[in-house]
Subunit: 511 residues, 2 copies
Amino acid sequence: MKQKAGSGQRSPPGPQSLALPARPKTPKPHKIAVQDLRASLVQAQVEHLAADFPVIVMIAGFDAAGKGEVLQVLNEWLDPRHLETIAFNTPSDEERERPPFWRYWRHLPARGNIGIFMSAWNTVALAEEAFAKSRPKRFARAISHIANFEKMLVDDGALIVKVWLYLSRKTQRKRLLKLEQDPKTRWRVSPDDWKHNAAHDRLDALSRELMKATDQPGARWTVIDSEHPRTRDLAVGHAILSQLRQHLAHRAPAKKPAATASRATPVPLVALGRKLLEQVDLSKKLASTAYKARLHEDLGNFNRLAWEAERTARSIVFVFEGWDAAGKGGAIRRLISAVDPRFYGVVPIGKPTDEEKAHHYLWRFWRHLPRDGMVTVFDRSWYGRVLVERIEGFCTEPEWRRAFEEINEFERQLTEHGAILVKFWLHVSKAEQLKRFKAREAVAYKRHKINTEDWRNRDRWESYETCLGDMVSLTSTEFAPWHLIPANDKRHARAEVLRTACRTIETALDA
Amino acid sequence: MKQKAGSGQRSPPGPQSLALPARPKTPKPHKIAVQDLRASLVQAQVEHLAADFPVIVMIAGFDAAGKGEVLQVLNEWLDPRHLETIAFNTPSDEERERPPFWRYWRHLPARGNIGIFMSAWNTVALAEEAFAKSRPKRFARAISHIANFEKMLVDDGALIVKVWLYLSRKTQRKRLLKLEQDPKTRWRVSPDDWKHNAAHDRLDALSRELMKATDQPGARWTVIDSEHPRTRDLAVGHAILSQLRQHLAHRAPAKKPAATASRATPVPLVALGRKLLEQVDLSKKLASTAYKARLHEDLGNFNRLAWEAERTARSIVFVFEGWDAAGKGGAIRRLISAVDPRFYGVVPIGKPTDEEKAHHYLWRFWRHLPRDGMVTVFDRSWYGRVLVERIEGFCTEPEWRRAFEEINEFERQLTEHGAILVKFWLHVSKAEQLKRFKAREAVAYKRHKINTEDWRNRDRWESYETCLGDMVSLTSTEFAPWHLIPANDKRHARAEVLRTACRTIETALDA
């Protein structure tokens, strides 16, 4: 809500002249204005291509204000090679069966690209609220989700240009009537349009509330009067141009994280963090016979619970983190042996692909979220951001610092949707790790599991302990607590993982 | 169906000894065999990582033969970092609303990776046929689709290892009963299992027919007797190992296409090909007023037809190809202006991403196919394979030669599913193109559309004509003919595109 159409922008030709009938013989100021704008837009796009941030253009506003026409004009004015248009219709079942923002994540533009979004998150929140009955808190929550989502993208460098096409109730009514009169355009008018016309005042008030709460640096709203189509189009074009130019100019050159500078042992954010890890009782053991009996029983339980989750459309997401050689793979294999292969997927997290690198770091995890009723096991996860990336300087300090809250928000959305999230840290002592490294090097088919990186990570044990402490302290939430598993004894670890999984799922299903 | 378990492979320890009760004090030949196998498998995987082909392991066979157990063993034996397991359940709506193979394409492993497929295309074809009534041709068609699909992947370098876990009817029955008796394993037995047990003979005959018809180099079947689990597991492991080793050894080193050698003007495959292009009447024109009237009417028609397609769940796929500056962008924008943005997507085809390069060249197009009722416009397309890639030597001659049939098969699957496919070639004269290049260079916001590549392509006009002739001759099928649009006059071209689209869709909807 920074600016009304025409104000504070390069002045488009006077709207009055456009309202008059065509004056063929005079020079055409509109045409000249469009040519200037197009040249500047394309020039800005060329600069943007070389920059490493995505642009999201959000077209929202009143029905019949001309969202479709604006979209078409933008498609004509902008270079189409790095441009996507994403308009949302009824969600598919794959979309419905995941947290609401999944469908937006899957369509986010890559760095260097522009994505034009229509009928997306803002529109959905408004439409849901406008005709909702007595659910006062929902709108506030929806708005806060939107603000968080956009902030996270902006923090990552994205530019979000949001335009609200304003139309008075009277003009809207006139346009709808005109569209209805022509058999060729009648299809454009839906019963919802009339419902919205009747609720114009309410929608206007709600949209102002939403815009006020979600207007933030890097994600500004521009309200554009849509009475006159040509003025409207130019105003939208100028809103994009000026914000893109500003973003290109003011964005600090991408700070390459100082990999060497960060080599010092990290300073803990939370003093008591490491205490939690030190309290893990690594002496715990389980004898072979007890293990077998317990495993057998708990696998049966887990199987029953997985079916129950499937029946009640609850997805289960496991996160496995742990020291190198702590036994993640073995624990995962035992766990999933109880589940029908059609219902689970294991996602090993290694080096990101270039499509993944071209997006927000959480994008690659969103793309693997399970549908309702399914099980996904992440073998390493988004916590790499606050562990290896923090320690090795693969991301900047502001980046890993804000990651804690971003991760909590991500997990909140997951669990609010109904997913059951179970996070394990498999803990071993430094001595036990050494023993296992050596044992692995002695066995031909295990040798590939050990490389120089593992030895280097081991050298940075103290740094990891600090970061782990912070991770456990700052991301153990009520909805997604960490489970620290003593794993010096493999049998004990596997049994404990299984039992913890059962207990967590059982509680979640009962709730 | 090359080998029975144990035959022709490194001999696993005698099955007899395994059937006997455990003999604790003797050395454990099974354990040693497993250790050897694991070491070899992991070694082969290391070599595979450096190679540039994907491996698909297909686990199929009788119920209760142990597909799940084999999967688990493989997950234990193989390095999980480049391994995916893909098991298929009921298709989602996003899957149902696209050609049947879409769900398999979306899960194909990248080069260097191994994907273990369960309950995939072979299993589905068998299950559908086993209990089908009086649809004699369907199975033959399903088999031919499978053989084509696998051949295409193999031609692209993939290794497909297919194992069929055989179990006699009697043993199957015994296992099902045993599973049912234990409350902890009862869930594993479904009513379908009993149905399949009753139909064992029929399934056996059908599976042999399927295996015989789909056994081809690079995609061999291995039938494995699954009476004894340990022997079975070793046999599966050895099947993968021996085929992977062979593939690594015998695969010719990736032939880098000789970019310079192919610089000569290509030799046409079809003599009459170019004639078709020469016959395009480039003198066709449309006056401004006639154009406007016609456009208005046809946009209305197209809109009506797009709604009708949506209502009847038919998707529409447009392919736009044409000389540089032939006016593809403008024609696309006019066309889609008649469609609600929620129902269409435009996919500009430029340089592939690395995820795309790591797959078969058609993969990137499969991933963008529309759901039923939706419209997708490809701005350039899979035809790049037989145009720019052929001319510039970006692919080898065998690759572009077989592309014609691969493309026809792709389009056949699309249209068999119900998609309406409309392919345009926008044709301009060499003189008209020059005029447009110069005009573009004169306009600031159009200058970005012209680059050195465009001028280079222009220099190779003759080569393009040859390749175009072949393309039009070899990929104009009954289900997906080419429409050659005279485009020296932009108005004529746009009107013609729109009218052709309407005519094609109308015919398809009436049929």
